[in-house]
Amino acid sequence: LKLKKVELVGFKSFCDRSELLFNGGGITAIVGPNGCGKSNISDAINWVLGEQSAKSLRGGSMQDVIFNGTRDRQPTGMAEVSLTLIDTDYHEEPRDEAEAVEAVVVMEGGEAGPGNGTNRSNATSGTIGHRYPHRDKGEHREVVVSRRLFRSGESEYLLNGKVCRLRDIQELFMGTGLGPESYAIIEQGRIGQILSSKPYERRALIEEAA
């Protein structure tokens, strides 16, 4: 999995739709004056991954994540955050059983090599007769994970636009450190506290990664 995009709308101080684009690796810095909304982005990522405690999102109740208005703007009725990830493993699975067969085919029909989409398709259709339209090496599957909360209290999770359960999202991120004891999201002020916690609490960090 690689992170491609984070979109927020109506989440805390991000009343209007905003997005951050990423290219899967590297360092992106987020800067700005005190109180402008930087930590709200970190809260948004924590929330969409399924955070259940309002207190960990620095609020009193979960509704505190919905934009609650300013002097000139009305509060909104909904908060929504989406993460777009690229599933780099995706094309490996379906290919696995066919990959070996395909390799034979390519030998007969032309130049072997990853990433050379057009050539492959021609070769495949010559002998075997199966077509894998998504099979182009350049195409990864995109996965979009979303979470919505309405003022009424109703909340939903979505996977590629279809309503799903929180468990489905947690399964997607299983074993990547993005679970409940996530070591991958360090909130403001928390880095000094990791060592001050009790020895038994530190165990949870290692268990999450085991």
Binding site: F22, I27, G32, D72, Y183, L195, K198, R202
Partner: protein, 160 residues
């Protein structure tokens, strides 16, 4: 399972010694399981020895030394089980300039496989990031994102 935990613990401990040495520019750090009747209840003690100092309890470390030790532990876990992304919110606030330098260098080394999102006020950390987003509140109470630097190319307003 206990087997998995022990394997992870051993592997992460090896990583921790390396990341500790990298972030402190020397010294020694390791984890130790605390005594417990039932192995599943054992906690984790952290031993940290900054360069030139005696081995001591992590309680006596300074604010910056504690933050750096915690970062070393975090990155050791990361090396064992990388995440698709990592969000670090002002973790560099307690660090002095030379420790910020070693921190950003280690993040750079780990960033090919992981997207790091680093929230910071430090100019030194900003310089180390190829991509930079600014958050502004020109309209009071409303956050807007502006892309300031994008791998050296032209900035664009990150809104639809």
């Amino acid at each position: 399972s206990r087997q998995q935990f022990n394997e992870a613990f051993e592997a992460i401990n090896v990583n921790f010694q390396e990341t500790f040495r990298t972030l402190f520019g020397g010294g020694f750090g390791m984890m130790r399981l605390t005594e417990a009747a039932n192995a599943a209840d054992a906690g984790i003690d952290v031993i940290a020895q900054p360069p030139g100092k005696r081995l001591q309890n992590v309680l006596l470390l300074s604010g910056g030394e504690k933050a750096l030790t915690a970062l070393a532990l975090l990155f050791a876990i990361f090396r064992h089980q990388p995440s698709p992304f990592c969000v670090l919110d002002e973790v560099d606030a307690p660090l002095d300039d030379s420790n910020i330098g070693r921190f950003t260098e280690l993040v750079r080394q780990m960033s090919p496989n992981t997207q790091f999102i680093v929230i910071t006020h430090s100019k030194k950390t900003m310089e180390a990031a190829p991509v930079l987003y600014g958050v502004t509140m020109q309209e009071p109470g409303i956050s807007k994102l502006v892309s300031v630097k994008f791998n050296g190319s032209q900035p664009h307003a990150a809104v639809n």
